[in-house]
């Protein structure tokens, strides 16, 4: 079934915004615990999240340099800041707006869930939860995001709107997982010489797993062998867990193939790029990645997902899309 190209873009962004919100909430919540458990001075406890969100320059446009250590300001920036396009509030607004535009395409359950979420975010009750019971605030947001993922699966026809939603979700998730792995790099940790420091190291790696809802799954596979190598290996290359980079990219490819299937005869850039990225990943062992430097490698992956995203934009949504190049002009 065909759908209006512009509406396909709304589906894709709706899912991306929601996934971004879920990821933000999860790392904020996990980090809250980490800060309490480790003796890492709080100076670099929060700022890495600004870096991996790609928000450094925007943040310093608004705040002075010393604010990089201000836990309160940073959390507020990620949750509420009007000038941060990806703040939870802004991402929710955009998700709802994308959804409102295509109410005739998605299910009414999805619309009601997003609208409900948006209305709640704007209540006094929500603001009070943020100040007085942060856990409740996070839980409620996660609840809505998880509910939406269930609704994608249980209320939509498995055709194009669904494919575009899943495409957006998977690509965003691949990107977010990569960014979360990179958080560790931006913490100024010395080598783990003392016992306490090595405990901290374990807590940090475990926290990254938690940020990806992957700690329980990881423990089942690696039997408490929480090392940098094992965690990185799991989050990047585990094919059977739905938040790892390889898993998300393979699903990205799957939905791109469903969208293009046999209809488009020419090879599209976004498909090829996704293919190449997956091949690169699977061809390399974790030891090789680590020897190149994990940060360098993750940066490479983040750039690749960005390129895939741009290619999707050009191939599928661009308003300049020349409709003369469409393979047929036939009524169905």
């Amino acid at each position: 079934m065909a759908m209006i190209s512009r509406a396909a873009e709304n589906c894709y962004w709706l899912a991306r915004h929601i996934e971004r919100i879920e990821s933000t909430v999860r790392y904020l919540q996990v980090n809250q615990d980490v800060v309490l458990d480790t003796n890492s001075n709080t100076t670099d406890a929060w700022y890495p999240f600004i870096i991996v969100a790609g928000q450094e320059s925007a943040f310093f446009k608004k705040y002075s340099d010393s604010r990089r250590y201000d836990a309160k300001i940073i959390q507020n920036y990620l949750c509420w800041e009007k000038e941060n396009p990806d703040s939870i509030l802004n991402a929710a607004r955009q998700a709802r707006e994308n959804c409102r535009i295509i109410r005739e395409i998605i299910s009414s359950e999805i619309w009601e869930c997003i609208n409900d979420f948006w209305l709640w975010l704007n209540t006094k009750k929500c603001k009070t939860a943020y100040t007085d019971d942060r856990h409740e605030y996070y839980q409620k947001i996660k609840f809505h995001c998880e509910l939406l993922q269930g609704l994608y699966e249980s209320t939509l026809l498995q055709e194009e709107p669904y494919y575009f939603i899943k495409l957006g979700l998977m690509l965003e998730r691949a990107n977010q997982t990569a960014r979360i792995i990179d958080v560790k790099y931006h913490r100024h940790s010395a080598s783990s010489s003392t016992e306490r420091e090595s405990v901290d190291e374990t807590i940090h790696w475990l926290s990254l797993l938690k940020c990806c809802s992957a700690s329980e799954a990881f423990l089942k596979r690696s039997h408490f062998n929480i090392t940098r190598q094992n965690v990185a290996n799991f989050l990047i290359l585990e094919k059977d867990f739905p938040r790892t980079i390889i898993y998300c990219l393979q699903k990205t490819l799957l939905y791109l193939e469903k969208i293009f299937d046999d209809f488009w005869n020419q090879k599209k850039a976004c498909l090829q790029l996704t293919h190449i990225t997956i091949n690169e990943l699977t061809a390399m062992s974790i030891e090789t990645m680590l020897s190149h430097g994990l940060h360098q490698y993750i940066t490479h992956i983040i750039n690749k997902t960005g390129e895939i995203s741009d290619a999707i934009q050009d191939d599928l949504f661009s308003p300049q899309l020349a409709f003369t190049s469409y393979p047929r002009e036939q009524a169905q």
């Binding site: 409102r100 005739e104 036939q330």
Partner: protein, 489 residues
């Protein structure tokens, strides 16, 4: 009705001089109304309050909103909804139905005539200069009739009840009348809130409107293989909820201008599977923004070439192009003449006495009696550009006087009609509010009136203005079924 028995309506006092829909139903035999009023009256005010609250939150959760523009900001608002219905008995309704179809038939004949032979002008039933100077008159579509000769596929005719308790036509809307989505949503909420009263009351269903609309438009299409779509100006339009609602309920795509393109006088939709032929467009875009090549070269909106496809008969545009000449508020005055001229019938529905400032004698009268009249701009809508003489300040009166003298074609005047009132829930309990009524008429091969419609309610006890842009709300409208199957009396 014995007021001492009243419960919900215990302290209800109607406005002197107005007919009240519930209290003074003495002009017609309306036992069924009385019986339903009794059912409502058995409710306690507290029950009522919680129902009201539940309705509000349901509208908010569903996002049943319209957009209000003020300065640069636009805000989404819930359309205020009142949970006391307005009730119309079967015999009144049958009369209205006949009258509405007669009126739409005549207006459609008028459009066919104006865009071809212009018999009605030649025989001097309507001043030629008045018609040709109408903002909505589109000489470029002359002699190119739409498919099936149907101009008015969807009409919303505004009715009010006068002091005598009879329905009169206040205004015709034959371009892009809105409001039907609220009527349908209101009904859903009411069924949820008062299932028992519904079960006992034999109320005509209205849910099949989208289905009727879809089939009426498709009847006229010459290409059954093409898609039916709704064309919207975009998500910032104040009626976007309705566009989206109708697309959902009709199961069709909701497109914007740049989702469409025209090639060889055929319209196509840009989809993820290439272009797809479009054969029916329910457009909620004004004439001027349909096609920049045809109407307004500077406009970035619209679909270049759309008018070529339309004039070639390759696509149904609903409503047709050029309908504005038929719902011009000055031409409204001549609709009874149209009915007599084209149908050789007497008008079934009366209409409000109207003075066209365009005509010298009328203008003189209006200027002398401005303080007693309601003045409207012929091209205005949404309750803007209206002067209510008796409530106006001296400055307002002077301003309108000057505007009328400067541009008489643009103004009409009517005596102030005491609109009927209906009990309405407010902070202060149940109070009377003035109401009007917009039924919807769909025309394909034949015309059909939705047995229901949008009853609009003024915001305050004092107000005569029911438009949503002025804070007005709405009520569900219950058309009672024929026959004596009211089970409660």
């Amino acid at each position: 009705m014995n007021k001492a028995e009243l419960n919900l309506f215990n302290n209800y006092r109607s406005i002197p001089g107005s007919v009240d829909e519930f209290i003074q139903s003495n002009t017609l035999k309306e036992e069924n109304i009385t019986a339903i009023v009794k059912l409502f009256n058995e409710l306690k005010l507290n029950q009522f309050k919680s129902s009201h609250k539940s309705a509000q939150s349901s509208f908010q959760r569903n996002g049943i909103t319209f957009t209000v523009y003020s300065d640069k900001q636009s805000t989404e608002k819930i359309f205020p909804f009142d949970i006391i219905p307005r009730i119309i008995p079967a015999t009144t309704w049958q009369h209205l139905e006949r009258g509405l179809i007669q009126r739409i038939t005549a207006l459609n004949c008028f459009l066919n005539d104006i865009y071809s032979e212009q018999h009605i002008l030649k025989e001097k039933h309507i001043p030629r200069a008045l018609v040709l100077s109408s903002q909505g008159y589109q000489p470029k579509v002359a002699n190119r009739h739409p498919l099936g000769n149907v101009y008015i596929h969807i009409a919303g005719i505004d009715l009010i009840k006068n002091q005598k308790g009879e329905f009169v036509v206040l205004e015709d809307n034959v371009r892009t009348p809105s409001g039907v989505s609220y009527a349908l949503e209101n009904r859903l909420v009411m069924k949820r809130l008062f299932p028992d009263i519904f079960a006992k009351s034999n109320i005509e269903p209205i849910d099949h409107y989208p289905d009727r609309l879809y089939h009426a438009l498709n009847q006229l299409s010459t290409n059954q293989a093409g898609l039916t779509i709704i064309l919207t100006p975009g998500s910032h339009n104040s009626a976007y909820f309705e566009h989206s609602f109708l697309a959902r309920k009709m199961g069709v795509d909701l497109a914007r201008g740049n989702d469409l393109f025209v090639k060889n006088a055929q319209v196509y939709l840009k989809t993820t599977r290439g272009s797809q032929l479009v054969s029916v467009i329910y457009r909620r875009v004004d004439d001027e923004y349909l096609d920049p090549e045809f109407f307004n070269k500077d406009s970035l909106l619209g679909v270049p070439g759309l008018m070529d496809a339309y004039l070639a008969g390759n696509v149904v545009l609903a409503n047709a192009v050029g309908n504005g000449v038929a719902d011009d508020k000055a031409i409204y005055h001549y609709v009874p003449q149209m009915i007599r001229f084209y149908l050789q019938e007497e008008p079934i529905l009366p209409q409000v006495e109207t003075f066209c400032c365009f005509e010298k004698q009328h203008r003189q009268y209006v200027l002398e009696n401005l303080h007693n009249m309601v003045v409207k701009a012929t091209d205005g809508s949404g309750g803007y550009d209206v002067l209510i003489g008796p409530n106006a300040s001296k400055i307002q009166l002077e301003t309108f006087k000057a505007m009328i003298i400067k541009n008489p074609r643009r103004y009409i005047a009517q005596p102030l009609i005491e609109l009927s009132t209906c009990p309405t829930y407010s902070k202060h309990g149940i109070e009377p509010r003035r109401i009007d009524f917009r039924p919807f008429i769909i025309t394909g091969h034949s015309s059909w009136v939705l047995p229901g419609g949008l009853t609009r309610v003024a915001a305050t006890k004092e107000s005569y203005v029911v438009n949503s842009s002025q804070g007005g709300g709405s009520k569900d409208t219950w058309i009672l079924g024929d026959g004596n199957d009211f089970t409660c009396s």
